[in-house]
Amino acid sequence: MAVVDTVRRRGGARLRGVDKTYGSGVAEVAALRGVDLDVEPGELVVVLGPSGSGKTTLLNLMGGIESPTAGEVTVAGVDIGERPPSSLADFRRDHVGFVFQFFNLIPTLTAYENVEVMVELTGRGTRDDVPGLLEAVGLADRGDHFPAQLSGGQQQRVALARAIATDPDVLLCDEPTGALDLETGRTVLELLQRLNADGRTVVIVTHNASVAAMAHRVVRVRSGRVDRVERNEHPADASALDW
């Protein structure tokens, strides 16, 4: 599946010479070292790598959750490398959506309310948008269900609805299928592919190599460095993935 030219492609990211170090002295750990990476607007990129290779750190830097120790990070045209934390919150609200492995739904709120809370807290959109968002992820009839009343796949779809509630330019997904079985994982990936087809940039971090088949490009990370970048001339349809 190719990037459709008729839609407005947005997002994108550019990393130059990015280092990220945690701790100091003998406890210093270099999570990323000299990373250069370009993600085109509207592209679907899968970042692959073993545990501890720096995938999540890379995602956090692109999402403005963390700041690089050195280097430049530009996402959706915004240089976020040296922004203060409060400004990064604004950047995230305006440009980035997150999907995590563990859904992170509020257990005491229904699916509807879990999406609503994001709309209200970020001030992007209104409560009236919530039914449409749930419908977009196929959960229009599950709005009044609590997370514990939903399957893992349904919970991840609520998380997706919540992530797109702010209409982000870039959707960053950290092991979005990690807690799901094949069938539900595939459903979530289909949704991500559709969101990408709408023009959003989607970056999926995973250790599941099968997911790479749906990407426009695959970035392989090893020991904090970008090891290899491969272009997929013919990205697979998510519904055809198997693992």
Binding site: I65, G97, F102, L105, L109, V117, A148, L150, S151, T187
Partner: protein, 435 residues
């Protein structure tokens, strides 16, 4: 397959970017209010425990602090009504001193009298008691007495006396009973015509050195002045009393009077603050004041710690959720306010009934105390709730520390099982959760 078309707003529809931050909210968003309500319901026992601790703290504080102020007011009312002396001068030329003192600025009234400590027989006990002279025709201008049973002294009955209430109660004596006083001319039997309270003996202390007097060894008898002189074996008064005006108390009248008294050869000059009963009561009342702060403080500290533990558990269990909200750009303020709200709620749930209980208990505590000490006047007043907000504040501070944490990075970590619901097994519907 899932879903339909992905909702996509146009650029024009999108709210403006970072330059237009969401307006600061005083009221948390609707969904967070719902969350707070359900969180409280889920942790009801813990919330109730915090609220009850706050309730106890507030009730204790309101009751004891207001009772303390009521006691002060009760004493002051009695002192004012019975013209309690600001200065008691014993020995020397007390008549001359009283005459001079009457002309000093800030002096409201002066009086002289005779006082003597003499052996007595009251009931079956033989205390070394105190005889105090009073004008038989009417109350003296300073250090009056409050007759609570029987009648005041009668000029036609020189052997008729008033027995101070503590002794009367202790020995079970009333009007018509007799006491024997061993005076300068030998034993003399006096008849009790009335029982009286005195501002000098609200706490029956013989002296500053003998505050805790055994009731069997100390009794006070108010006798006609002539009788008191006869018993004491003196021809003139040996004690002068001075009452000051409020302005006199605020100024230096007391210092000037003390100097004059010493110049007049006084053996003992005792300001009101040093008067044994008053000093003892003030020590007691000061202890009460400290207790009225210390005990509630203990409870409110416990409430703050409980709120801290409760909220820390909740915040820790919701770290990934908080991280998710923050990662999505939710500003820190509303998130902090949300968790702070838990503490404020618990504080208010305890503070409001605590105030009610405290106000009711104030009356009870004040009356119980004034009754136990036999304070003639009981003042029960409600005081402005200046310090009551301390209780919700205590919980707020307890909630502040956990509430202010921020963990955007925690969003990618698995949830803890501390209070929150873990995701169910992949693909399997979870157990039902009621609203």
């Amino acid at each position: 397959m899932v879903g339909t078309a992905t909702p996509q707003r146009t650029v024009a529809e999108r709210p403006a970017s970072s330059s237009a931050r969401p307006a600061p909210r005083v009221v948390p968003p609707r969904a967070l209010r719902i969350k707070t309500r359900r969180d409280v319901r889920r942790q009801l026992p813990q919330f109730v425990a915090v609220a009850v601790t706050v309730l106890l703290g507030v009730a204790l504080f309101v009751a004891s602090f207001d009772a303390f102020r009521n006691l002060e007011a009760s004493y002051d009312t009695t002192y004012t009504r019975l013209h309690f002396a600001d200065l008691t001068v014993t020995g020397g030329d007390v008549a001359r001193f009283a005459g001079e003192a009457a002309g000093v600025d800030g002096v409201a009234a002066t009086a002289t009298r005779t006082q003597a400590d003499l052996p007595m027989q009251v009931g079956t006990a033989k205390p070394y008691g105190r005889v105090i002279g009073l004008p038989p025709a009417g109350q003296p201008p300073v250090d009056q007495v409050d007759v609570v049973a029987g009648t005041y002294l009668d000029p036609g009955r020189p052997d008729g006396v008033l027995l101070e209430r503590h002794a009367a109660d202790h020995f079970g004596l009333g009007p018509g009973a007799t006491v024997e006083v061993v005076g300068a001319d030998g034993p003399r039997t006096l008849t009790v015509v009335g029982v009286a309270d005195s501002p000098e003996y609200l706490w029956p202390a013989r002296s500053r050195q003998d505050i805790l007097t055994d009731p069997d060894s100390f009794a006070v008898v108010f006798a006609p002045e002539a009788t008191a002189r006869a018993l004491a074996g003196v021809t003139g008064p040996n004690q002068a009393l001075v009452e000051l005006t409020p302005a006199g108390r605020a100024g230096d009248a007391l210092d000037r009077l003390e100097a004059r008294a010493r110049a007049a050869g006084a053996a003992d000059v005792q300001p009101r603050a040093e008067q044994p009963s008053n000093a003892a009561l003030h020590e007691d009342i000061n202890g009460f004041a400290e207790m009225s702060v210390a005990f509630p403080l203990l409870f409110l500290t416990a409430a703050a710690i409980a709120a801290y533990v409760l909220l820390t558990r909740r915040v820790l269990s919701e770290r990934p959720v908080i991280g998710m909200l923050r990662a999505a750009g939710a500003r820190r303020g509303p998130v902090v306010v949300h968790y702070l709200g838990h503490g404020v709620l618990a504080g208010l749930l305890g503070a409001v009934p605590g105030v009610v209980v405290g106000v009711v208990a104030t009356t009870w505590v004040t009356r119980a105390y004034t009754s136990a000490v036999d304070v003639p006047d009981t003042v029960v007043a409600r005081h402005p709730p200046a310090r009551w907000p301390a209780s919700p504040s205590a919980c707020s501070w307890g909630s502040w520390a956990p509430g202010r944490r921020r963990w955007p990075r925690r969003a990618s970590r698995p949830p803890r099982r501390c209070g929150g619901s873990p995701p169910p097994a992949a693909g399997a519907p979870g157990a039902g959760a009621g609203r």
